[in-house]
């Protein structure tokens, strides 16, 4: 256990250095703020443009999509960050083989690197929400201390990181055995989750035949829960309005437990396969 914890700590430190020491701290801070803030403000611009052309734009949609988009950064950071670690360490820095032959357990190393990315994403989420709160009156009225439900927020964040970590492990395992298509896998799944989890629009807007898929994704429940914990009560979407916090967390716990078991088995199988087939040091020019 101590060895795992030491590995996680060392990998987190390494991950943070890789992510942050390419420039001076001020420029890095600007990078942390500017990128996610602009991605969320893009949605605000669409909202303003739509309002200038039509009077039927619902005002409550703006906090819904802004907060959803900000929280999706955690999904990207944790779930897809893990597979990116495999790609960058194997293809770009060509260090994965050295990690492999070191006494460091690969899984703990990946968890540590994912923690560094989660930290970076969490900072991005906080800064994006703070930026939106300062710039947009609609967000100011939706994000208030009275509406914030701190206990549920902590619960959602804790379960969410576990759930996303499990998804990340499954993807990282698959990426270990993929060459040129590794980016396709993680970007494809990221795109699907963005489209089907009700990140920036309520799932009722999707065509009817696509909606059942949304309810298979734990991220749909997680985003709804986080939004409710931040903005209070039910949010703009109507698909999960009958679900209480307890229902959402129970669904999340169940799916997370299942995902953790699957992630453990899938990663172990892929790890062995990659080792047997000599894929640990392959470079494909991705």
């Amino acid at each position: 256990m101590r060895q795992h914890l030491r590995a996680i700590r060392a990998a987190t430190w390494l991950g943070w250095q890789i992510e942050s020491n390419w420039t001076d701290p001020w420029l890095f801070f600007l990078y942390l703020v500017l990128k996610p803030l602009c991605a969320s403000l893009l949605l605000w611009c669409m909202f303003v443009a739509a309002r200038s052309m039509s009077a039927a734009v619902p005002g409550e949609l703006l906090p819904f999509l802004y907060v959803g988009n900000a929280c999706f950064m955690i999904v990207g950071g944790v779930a897809f960050g893990l597979s990116w670690v495999i790609i960058s360490d194997r293809e770009h820095y060509q260090m994965l083989k050295y990690i492999w032959i070191s006494p460091l357990p690969l899984r703990s190393y990946l968890i540590g690197r994912a923690l560094a990315r989660s930290l970076q994403s969490a900072v991005g989420v906080v800064l994006t929400l703070a930026g939106g709160w300062l710039l947009l009156p609609e967000l100011r009225s939706a994000l208030t201390w009275e509406r914030l439900d701190g206990r549920w927020l902590v619960a959602y964040l804790a379960v969410g990181v576990l759930m996303l970590g499990a998804v990340g492990m499954i993807l990282a395992g698959a990426v270990l055995n993929l060459g040129r298509h590794s980016m396709l896998l993680s970007e494809g799944i990221a795109g699907l989750i963005y489209l089907l989890s009700g990140v920036v629009f309520p799932v009722e807007v999707l065509p009817e035949w696509l909606r059942p898929l949304c309810f298979f994704l734990p991220t749909t429940y997680w985003l709804e829960g986080v939004r409710r914990a931040l903005m209070g009560g039910t949010t703009f979407g109507r698909a999960l309005e009958g679900w209480s916090h307890g229902d959402l967390v129970s669904a999340l716990l169940l799916s997370t437990a299942l995902l953790l078991v699957v992630a453990h088995a899938v990663f172990r199988w892929n790890e062995q396969r990659a080792w047997r087939q000599g894929r640990v040091d392959q470079t494909t020019g991705v």
Partner: protein, 277 residues
């Protein structure tokens, strides 16, 4: 072989691996067409949730298609010399008896042709999926605007490429940083003047993507079409064409100058072969 013939052959030689590489690995089509369609669809549904007019769906599809070119300029032009240095090809380019502008021109041509496929798929599939109709005021004008936008965009890409000769890991992050802020300023999914005040819109027009997309919207969604909403534009179409022409020339000259200057500096500072910085 000298002069223009050498330039042209070097350019075509650098175009060749881009084209042939993708022919040999057709799965790129999936990555280059299906994935962007997912994010484009998400933005279309955002406008649907807002009950926005149908033109907005067209803006999103156009934005998705043009974003493909911007991404190609950033990752396959700007950051390309950084990747080439990591894979050990950069020194071969430098010692080759042809101009670096020819190599970059070849990258641009190959990238543009492939990205055209991605853009065409986004526009065609998106239009079929979401029932968008375009009413171009003039096909000739559409072609001129598009070509000038490409020239200005890839000229800017060459400027980036020269800057990245000096940079290491920061190149990757800088490219990454140039995505979302530029999407925002260029009005990727919305008309810039519907959101930003004139000074901000004029400043944003220095990015070829901004003025190119604004001009393309003017041609594809002309105000005379039916009872659609009135869409504000940054400048008139002729003025935007003029601006695109000026930007194209300016970026190409700047690229030529900065490539020479930064290549010399990289040699002096010994950065041309430093890997994994």
């Amino acid at each position: 072989m000298k002069g223009a013939a050498l330039f042209l052959r070097a350019m075509l030689a650098r175009t060749y691996p881009r084209i042939i590489g993708t022919v040999r690995m057709p799965s790129w089509l999936l990555q280059e067409t299906l994935l962007p369609l997912l994010s484009v669809s998400a933005y279309v549904f955002v406008y649907r949730a807002m009950n926005a007019p149908e033109e907005c769906t067209g803006f999103v599809l156009l934005g998705g298609a043009m974003a493909a070119f911007w991404l190609n300029v950033l990752w396959s032009m700007g950051a390309q010399l950084y990747w080439e240095r990591d894979s050990g090809n950069l020194e071969l380019y430098i010692i080759a008896p042809c101009s670096m502008m020819a190599i970059l021109g070849g990258m641009a041509l190959g990238g543009m042709l492939l990205t055209l496929t991605r853009a065409a798929v986004i526009l065609t599939a998106g239009s079929l999926l979401f029932g968008v109709r375009y009413h171009p005021s003039s096909w000739g004008m559409l072609a001129v605007v598009f070509l000038l936008t490409m020239l200005a965009l890839y000229g800017l890409g060459m400027v980036f490429a020269s800057a990245f000769l000096l940079w290491g890991r920061e190149a990757w992050h800088t490219v990454s940083l140039l995505q979302e802020p530029v999407y925002l300023l260029s009005g990727l999914n919305f008309p810039v003047r519907a959101v930003f005040p004139p000074p901000v819109a004029w400043l944003a027009s220095l990015i070829p993507l901004t003025v190119g997309m604004d001009a393309l919207r003017q041609v594809l969604f002309p105000p005379s079409q039916g009872s659609g909403p009135s869409i504000p534009y940054i400048l008139g179409l002729e003025a935007e064409l003029g601006l695109l022409a000026v930007l194209s020339l300016a970026f190409l000259f700047l690229a030529r100058y900065s490539l020479g200057h930064l290549e010399r500096r990289s040699r002096e500072e010994g950065r041309l072969t430093v890997r994994w910085q």
